[in-house]
């Protein structure tokens, strides 16, 4: 039923948008179009609407400062309605019909996997702003969120260390889809490499939107009572987090006893939650709203002015969107054209200052170098950074902890054409 409803909603909105874009072909030559491919309805609307607004803010800002190559930039917004196949259709529409030069979009890995063939077939460019499971490299996608070695691995290392409580037993909780399963596969391999046996790892998956956490939280408690310090690694996505954290609080699991580190819980997800009982639980990201610094406060100020709500929070995928957008703008300026192949080559080595200090660099494997932060939930719904990597960590497309991936490398600098090969492969760009 839900599926049909999404189709109808998607169709309605698409119709409305088509009306808008049909009315504006006269000025099409004077603008550079970018596509915004984020769900504005359905289960992911909660997270993705914010990113749509972020891109609109960035475009607005760019136009105020004179646009790009002497032209105005125009954002074309479509709504794939949290419906994965619809993502592919909308992507095709953006590239073929709207002739956008780059697309900013997708949140869940399954939506990214669904648009991937479209971008490769039509040789267009996608900026993907969310942390993900890695094990993928595409010539047409720039991954500006964290790869597992920029989030999951450092977080687990922190908890293993003396400062994080020296955890010896691990509970891997996740939502049942590709991102948690792959991340946990990598984590399991990593834990094995650190001498943790399978007996000390508990893995559990729940459906999207799971709300009855009694049994699982009780199981975690039982698992933790085996005499070794236990930590929970959560790849639970979206709505399900709220009842999960409520149940933790009610069953009296304190962060000192069993810390939970989450990879998908940011400021936005905490906004609907009383965080009092959760103080001390952790999250690993490349950005927290609470980090002090000029760049960040300027960004927050701009965001509040744009969204006209001083209570709205900022989060990591917003920073990743910001970095991706700035890099694209710089690359276009450098290449002097919006042609995809030229811009792609210009992307490598682009730098943009992070909002938390340091500099993000685009590497030839289409991943960024970014710092890793670990923060504790505070009772005001913000994170307090408790640990930070010394410098920036280079995103790794292929995990070193899965044997078959460890051999692989990715490099898309001309004349390389290799996203997943063991030996260098040279060749002309495929068209």
């Amino acid at each position: 039923m839900g599926k049909i409803s999404r189709y109808i909603k998607g169709a309605t909105i698409a119709g409305a948008l088509a009306g808008v874009t049909l009315a504006a072909p006269a000025q099409a030559q004077d603008t550079i179009k970018v596509g915004v491919l984020h769900s504005l309805s359905g289960t992911m609307a909660i997270s993705e609407t914010t990113l749509k607004d972020t891109v609109l803010m960035l475009v607005d800002d760019l136009n105020k400062n004179g646009g790009l190559l002497g032209k105005k930039v125009e954002a074309v917004v479509v709504d794939p309605a949290s419906n994965w196949p619809l993502f592919a259709e909308k992507a095709r529409e953006l590239i073929e019909k709207e002739k956008v030069q780059a697309v900013f979009g997708c949140w869940t890995s399954v939506s990214r996997k669904s648009v991937l063939p479209v971008f490769e077939e039509l040789n267009s460019m996608l900026f993907y702003p969310v942390q993900y499971e890695g094990e993928e490299s595409s010539r047409n996608v720039f991954y500006t969120g964290a790869a597992p070695n920029q989030q999951a691995i450092p977080a687990v290392e922190y908890l293993m260390g003396e400062e994080g409580g020296a955890a010896k037993r691990w509970v891997l909780l996740g939502t049942d889809y590709v991102y948690p399963r792959t991340t946990n596969k990598i984590l399991r391999a990593f834990l094995h490499s650190k001498g943790v046996s399978d007996d000390d790892i508990m893995e559990n998956y729940t459906p999207f939107g799971h709300s009855d956490w009694q049994t699982i939280v009780a199981d975690v408690k039982k698992f933790a009572s085996a005499g070794k310090k236990t930590a929970v690694v959560s790849t639970i996505n979206g709505d399900a987090n709220v009842p999960f954290y409520k149940e933790l609080g009610n069953q009296g699991i304190k962060a000192e006893d069993i810390p939970v580190v989450a990879f998908s819980v940011g400021e936005e997800e905490l906004a609907g939650l009383d965080t009092g009982p959760l103080v001390g639980h952790l999250a690993a990201w490349n950005y927290f709203m609470s980090v002090e610094g000029e760049a960040n406060s300027a960004f927050i100020k701009k965001w509040h002015a744009f969204i006209k709500d001083p209570k709205r929070v900022t989060n990591d995928p917003m920073e990743a969107t910001y970095i991706g957008f700035q890099m694209w703008v710089q690359a276009v300026k450098q290449a002097g054209t919006t042609d995809v192949d030229a811009v792609r080559q210009a992307m490598y080595g682009q730098t943009v200052p992070n909002l938390t200090g340091g500099v993000a660099v685009m590497n030839t494997n289409h991943h960024l170098s970014k710092p890793v932060l670990i923060g504790e939930i505070q009772d005001n719904g913000q994170f307090d950074t408790v640990w930070k990597t010394d410098g920036e960590v280079i995103g790794d497309a292929w995990s070193d902890f899965i044997p078959e991936s460890a051999k692989l490398t990715a490099d898309w600098t001309y004349p390389w054409v290799c996203g997943n090969c063991e030996k260098p492969k040279y060749g002309m760009m495929m068209q």
Partner: protein, 552 residues
């Protein structure tokens, strides 16, 4: 800002005052040492911080309590200008600073002038342990009990004498048990005499908590080469024996817990389905917007809470009592509107009703999204619904679930009374069984339809109040429960309240017994498959109603 000397003077005056009341224990460290220890809390290295915390805990000085409490709550700061340690409290844009030991106000500064002393989970655990020692003498038995549990977790050697002293003056039986448990843990960990340690194991074996299990398994563990960690063979033997006993008791408690969880899931299903049992079961209307009526109830709870938060923050705990009738009214009115506006034209055409109400559900969802936004809304739990009830050590039942079980049974009971014992109920039954006959007896059937639908919808709204306490209040709330609700009603037997009750609890318990074995995803699938098979065999559900009108 008061100078260091000034603060010292206040300290001295205050300590003299305190000693005048006999408040200072004999252990009290001299002022200078204590001041120095407090300054140590701001040390950079974790190890220095830890030794300062432990020294404060071991000092036994009552004044150390507020300092450590402030630290664990993240209210301890250092002043940037002179690096002194202060307790800070945010008030609007300024921080009110107090001297750590005297609690005397020192200054008001802005956030730029102070730096927070960072704590992490490891420090929090250590602080709680140290605090435990200080709170053991508190006047509040609940605080002493918590303190004993904290000491149990930290079990540092210094806690032994403090526990001895606290035990000597303890009169409350449950607190005594907790303290004895804590003392046993300290003795087992630190004592050298094997007889004392075996005694400790025996004390611990009386208790079935997961913490005890953790402690005993630690001692029974073997290292990487298969060599036992514990050197003393007699102690090891006692621990293994105690562990065996404990495991079997825990397994029993786990079973009890499983049943409770099943009942609690069942009561949630019951709440979501019982309104549907009236509109679908009694009236035969397939109302796809039922979930959205539940959602309306949840949003009403949010709106009521907002009013309470802004106007009567002191009465927040009672907001749910207002939200229940409010949610009933809002959803009931919406329900009557839907019935009068749409459904009454479609009686006897189930497919069209399904399509129309489904359209309404989308409209309601989008309306709520437009008004309240797509993000989750924060609905608070009143204090009497937070936390858990400890039946014995090792068996916790969370309050929110207990209240939902009680509430769902109450609602069901009220509906049963209403249908069986009131004129309104009689009319509903009459119209359901034979519309023409009822009409010719002078019953206004149209009105009865609207009221019945309103009743079912209002109950959905009340379910929304309960669900807002355990689930997200977002526009998607209703969608999550609509399938489950239909499942319960169809499985239980259409048109039968008892069927709904039995159906909901059966599904809840089966789901919860399956879940630990096969996981949440597979458990849901298995239950769904089982229901499909069951409906094949008995299309009318568990409790089939018989009668001419039903058969036709």
């Amino acid at each position: 800002m008061i100078t260091y000397l000034g603060r010292l003077r206040i300290c001295l005056v205050l300590s003299m005052l305190l000693s005048g009341f006999g408040g200072l224990p004999a252990l009290a460290a001299d002022e200078a040492t204590l001041e120095k220890t407090v300054a140590g809390l701001a040390a950079n290295g974790f190890d220095d911080k830890i030794s300062a915390i432990e020294a404060l805990g071991a000092s036994g000085d009552k004044r150390a309590g507020p300092v450590l409490e402030a630290m664990v709550e993240g209210n301890l700061y250092t002043v940037k200008s002179d690096n002194s340690v202060v307790i800070g409290e945010r008030k609007g844009n300024v921080y009110i600073l107090r001297a750590p030991l005297t609690l005397a106000p020192v200054a008001e500064v802005s956030s730029q002038d102070i730096t927070k002393i960072r704590v992490n989970n490891r420090l929090r655990g250590i602080i709680r342990g140290a605090l435990g020692g200080l709170v053991l003498m508190s006047d509040d038995p609940a605080a002493r009990r918590r303190a004993a549990d904290d000491v149990f977790k930290a079990r540092t050697m210094e806690m032994g004498p403090m526990l001895d002293k606290a035990l000597a003056r303890e009169s409350d039986a449950t607190v005594r048990t907790a303290m004895e448990r804590a003392l046993a843990a300290v003795n087992l960990t630190h004592a050298t005499d094997s007889a004392v340690r075996i005694d400790a194991v025996k004390t611990l074996a009386l208790d079935a908590g997961p913490d005890t299990r953790a402690l005993l398994s630690q001692i029974a563990a073997v290292d990487g080469d298969g060599k036992p960690v514990e050197a003393d063979a007699a102690v090891r033997e006692a621990v293994v024996e105690a562990l065996d006993e404990l495991e079997s008791r825990l397994a029993f408690l786990h079973g009890v817990e499983g049943i409770f969880q099943g009942i609690s899931l069942g009561s949630v299903l019951l709440l979501a389905a019982v309104g549907l049992a009236i509109t679908f079961g009694v009236m035969g209307v397939i109302n796809m917007a039922h979930g959205e009526l539940v959602m309306l109830g949840a949003y009403t709870t949010f709106a009521v809470q907002e009013v309470f938060r802004n106007s009567f923050p002191g009465l927040f705990d009672y907001s749910l009592l207002v939200a229940i009738p409010a949610a009933f009214l809002v959803s009931a009115l919406a329900g009557v509107g839907i019935e009068r506006g749409v459904i009454r034209y479609l009686y006897g055409r189930p497919l069209e009703t399904l399509l129309a109400t489904w359209g309404i559900s989308l409209v309601l969802q989008q309306t709520v999204r437009t008004i309240f936004g797509p993000t989750n809304r924060e609905v608070g739990n009143p204090s009497w619904m937070s936390g858990s009830l400890e039946i014995t050590n090792g068996l916790l039942l969370t309050y929110n679930r207990i209240w939902i079980i009680v509430f769902s049974l109450l609602v069901l009971g009220l509906i049963a009374l209403l249908l069986k014992r009131t004129t309104f109920g009689l009319r509903i039954r009459a119209v359901t069984q034979n519309r023409e006959m009822a009409a010719s007896m002078g019953i206004r059937t149209g009105m009865t339809d609207a009221m019945t639908f309103g009743l079912g919808s209002g109950i959905a709204g009340m379910a929304g109040v309960a669900l807002s306490q355990i689930d997200n209040v977002s526009p998607n709330l209703g969608q999550a429960y609509i399938i489950d609700s239909f499942m319960v009603v169809v499985f239980g037997g259409v048109g039968n309240l008892w069927g709904t009750l039995v159906g909901a609890f059966t599904l809840g318990i089966v789901n919860k017994l399956l879940e630990p074995e096969v996981g949440a995803v597979l458990a849901k699938i298995l239950v769904l498959v089982a229901i499909i098979l069951f409906i094949q065999k008995r299309p009318r559900g568990l409790f089939a109603l018989r009668g001419r009108a039903i058969e036709s």
